[in-house]
């Protein structure tokens, strides 16, 4: 088994799904000859041709709308948004057209919207955001946000085969930083299932995407102090694996939620509510959150560092919770 980056894992998933199913087509800006801004679609055009790797004008609304129309004839389009920040440009198509199609008139929309997301690379306020909650809040959309190459590949395959619109967030800071051994044989990872990254008895950290790795670093620090932290990687935000969260909370009796999204209206609030409603008696401490600040993502490195949750933020919050 070879060491594979998260970026390469996604590329493999696209490649293999396009090989497997001629209904899968890719559509987006600069994805063909150029291979995408981050090169995720590199090589697809050579292999699958112009009809299946469709370069578009800079028109996010048209990309999403056209993909939706293609899906009505049974195709499975995979859209690339150059950066997920630009998803705001097609918010209406996604939330009003795509998301409501099945519920209102019974027309499923099997499409994937994949996009580089997240901060930590000094991309500034318009190339660093985590807008997953706008869409997790919209009934009808699924939201996937992997943290490892293995998951990214398996989840992408599931997303493409899913008969619903799936937003697939690809954390750009993880693209080349995280490597995994990926089996050569075919596999998928189901949507809606969290993964336990580290077992522990004292405290649960529920997190996802890049913060999974930050949380694991914090957990290693905390272990030196004798605090054994359980790190649960949610992997998909919608549907949310509430069973896995509740099981872990019932075991550790303490919950810290960590996300790179901003605080107000982040998924931490939803998770806390689910835990209060279902496992209040199991809690030995209040639920705590470590999140980004409720500001735009600032550009300059010291500002962005302050904006993003850091290992020491998580360690401090976990330490306090463990001693509560």
């Amino acid at each position: 088994m070879a060491q594979t980056t998260l970026l390469e894992a996604i590329r493999q998933a696209l490649f293999e799904e396009m090989e497997r199913d001629p209904a899968v087509v890719c559509i987006g800006e600069d994805i063909g000859v150029y291979g995408g801004a981050f090169k995720v679609t590199a090589g697809l055009l050579e292999r699958f041709g112009w009809e299946r790797v469709i370069d578009t004008p800079i028109s996010e609304t048209a990309i999403i709308g056209a993909a939706c129309g293609m899906s009505y004839l049974g195709l499975r389009p995979v859209c690339e948004l150059q950066f997920v920040d630009f998803i705001a440009c097609c918010f209406n198509q996604l939330t009003n057209f795509v998301a409501k199609s099945f519920y209102l008139w019974g027309a499923p929309v099997p499409m994937v919207v994949r996009a580089p997301s997240g901060g930590g690379v000094h991309g500034g306020p318009f190339h660093s955001q985590n807008p997953e909650m706008y869409f997790a809040h919209t009934p009808g959309l699924k939201v996937v946000y992997p943290s490892t190459p293995y998951d990214a590949k398996g989840l992408m395959k599931s997303a493409i085969r899913d008969n619903n619109p799936v937003l697939f967030f690809e954390h750009k800071a993880l693209y080349r930083r995280i490597k995994d051994e990926i089996p050569e044989s075919e596999y998928t990872v189901p949507l809606g299932k969290a993964a336990m990254r580290r077992e522990g008895r004292d405290l649960t950290i529920a997190t996802y995407a890049a913060m999974t790795h930050t949380s694991l670093e914090a957990a290693a620090e905390l272990a030196k102090e004798g605090i054994e932290v359980e790190v649960l990687d949610l992997r998909t935000i919608q549907p949310l694996d509430t069973d896995a969260i509740l099981d872990s909370v019932k075991k550790t009796n303490r919950l810290l939620i960590v996300h790179e999204d901003t605080r107000f209206g982040g998924v931490a609030g939803e998770i806390a509510a689910v835990v209060f409603e279902n496992a209040f008696d199991d809690l030995d401490a209040p639920v705590r959150r470590v999140t980004s600040l409720d500001t735009p993502v600032p550009y300059s490195p010291p500002l962005e560092e302050r904006f993003l949750p850091q290992v020491y933020d998580i360690v401090a919050a976990a330490r306090e919770l463990a001693r509560y």
């Binding site: 000859v33 050579e46 041709g49 709308g65 049974g74 099945f102 991309g123 008969n163």
Partner: protein
């Protein structure tokens, strides 16, 4: 268009007449239902615009796709939707196509009639129907898609993004701009600084026709020509149909902002009454035939109205039905071409751009941009009744994907991955 392309047979004439009449009677029936408080939400009238929905949809084949807006009940009827579906939709009944989850013309049919449901946000259907056309081409189905937009909707971003993508893709999309002169209470002159909305098409390098939207035969023959062009791979085609909205935006709106003289003028141009006079004069329509048509329509209307009124509202728990689809898709891809054409290795290409002339341009060859004189505008009005308004330039001409890698490569693939690609364009 040639004279032959303008030919409409007596059978077609009676069909056009029948569908316009059906449309009007369906909508009149709903106005009565609205006044009886039986319509749950708003009711939007296409009074005076029936020729556009009917004439354009009548130019399509069964395999083709439409996406209606709120004033395109006529299109739905031509496509084969029964009046009962329109009544039950407006009355929010459990027997409606959306089971009461949405109203008005907001319903579709993927499998049989090929109708995409609209949403209330204007312009969104244009990229969607572009996508349907792209998928149809990919699958080898040779279908044409058709949707409508009002004069007001041409100012949305989705209109421009959608039309541009359609033109760039050469999508087989017929886009009908239904210029009824009012976007809710705002006249066209306060929306855009141009006289003809069809002029928009020129900027996207696609064909446009301007047609009298109250002349059903002109609408039909123009749409038929547009469909023919699209089917031949020369889409998209824009049709601007000039007409007049003879009611307010919806039933609640008395449209007092419309000058009375304007209503009076357009009342004289009623598309159904004028067509009836024409068909009677031509001996195609007789009193006997008209009675047969009316009797048949009224029988269906009566049956369907009763059906709708006797239909139950949906059970409350229906609200909790899933927002996600489990199980197989209602439509699997219907391939009408060899799949091998799109699967490796036959699909494989050398990925490089061919930029003709190194992107150079001849400055003296470019005409200076001049503002249109009123004379120019009058000239394009002369393009009514199906004369091509603008010829198409090839938007792909200057940067064409090269299929077999012959010739020189002006832009090689970047060899270094952009690790921190940041700046966007």
């Amino acid at each position: 268009m040639t004279e032959a392309a303008k030919t409409v047979t007596p059978e077609q004439q009676l069909d056009l007449y029948r569908y316009m009449l059906l449309d009007r009677i369906v909508e009149e029936t709903m106005t009565k239902l609205f006044r009886q408080n039986k319509i749950v939400g708003g009711l939007y009238s296409s009074l005076g615009q029936e020729a556009i929905s009917v004439g354009t949809t009548y130019a399509l084949e069964q395999r083709d796709w439409i996406a209606p807006m709120i004033r395109n009940i006529g299109g739905l009827l031509v496509k084969g939707v029964r009046p009962r579906d329109i009544f039950t939709q407006h009355m929010a009944r459990y027997t409606s196509p959306t089971l009461g989850k949405d109203g008005t013309s907001h319903f579709g049919d993927l499998k049989n009639l090929h109708i995409v449901s609209p949403i209330s946000m204007l312009g969104d259907l244009i990229p969607v129907m572009t996508g349907v056309a792209m998928a149809g081409r990919y699958l080898g189905q040779n279908i044409v898609t058709l949707t409508w937009i009002g004069d007001g909707g041409t100012s949305t971003g989705a209109f421009h993004e959608g039309l541009n993508l359609a033109a760039q893709q050469r999508a087989s999309l017929v886009l009908v701009i239904e210029n009824n002169q009012w976007a809710y209470s705002t006249p066209v002159s306060r929306q855009v600084p141009i006289e003809h909305l069809a002029d928009r098409a020129k900027a996207y390098g696609c064909r446009a026709f301007i047609v009298d939207g109250n002349d059903v035969e002109a609408v039909f023959t123009t749409a038929r020509e547009a469909v023919r062009l699209c089917r031949a791979g020369q889409g998209p085609v824009v049709i601007e149909a000039k007409t007049m909205r003879m009611r307010g935006h919806a039933q609640h709106d008395p449209a007092e902002y419309v000058p009375k003289e304007m209503f009076d003028y357009w009342k004289q141009r009623d598309p159904i009454e004028s067509y009836e006079r024409k068909l009677v004069a031509a001996g195609v329509l007789t009193g006997k035939i008209k009675k047969e048509i009316l009797d048949a329509i009224n029988a269906v209307i009566e049956e369907d109205r009763a059906f709708a009124e006797n239909s139950p509202f949906p059970p409350p728990e229906l609200a909790e039905t899933p927002v996600y689809h489990e199980g197989p898709l209602p439509i699997e891809p219907q391939w009408k071409r060899p799949v091998a054409e799109v699967t490796p290795p036959r699909s494989s290409v050398k990925s490089e751009w061919n930029v003709s002339g190194d992107g150079d341009f001849q400055a003296d060859a470019i005409e200076p941009a001049t503002s249109k004189s009123p004379g120019d505008a009058a000239a394009s009005v002369g393009a009514r009744h199906g004369v091509p308004h603008k010829s198409a330039a090839d938007p792909l001409k200057n940067a064409t994907p090269k299929r077999n890698g012959a010739g020189r490569a002006s832009a090689k693939r970047a060899s270094k991955p952009a690790v921190r690609s940041r700046g966007r364009k």
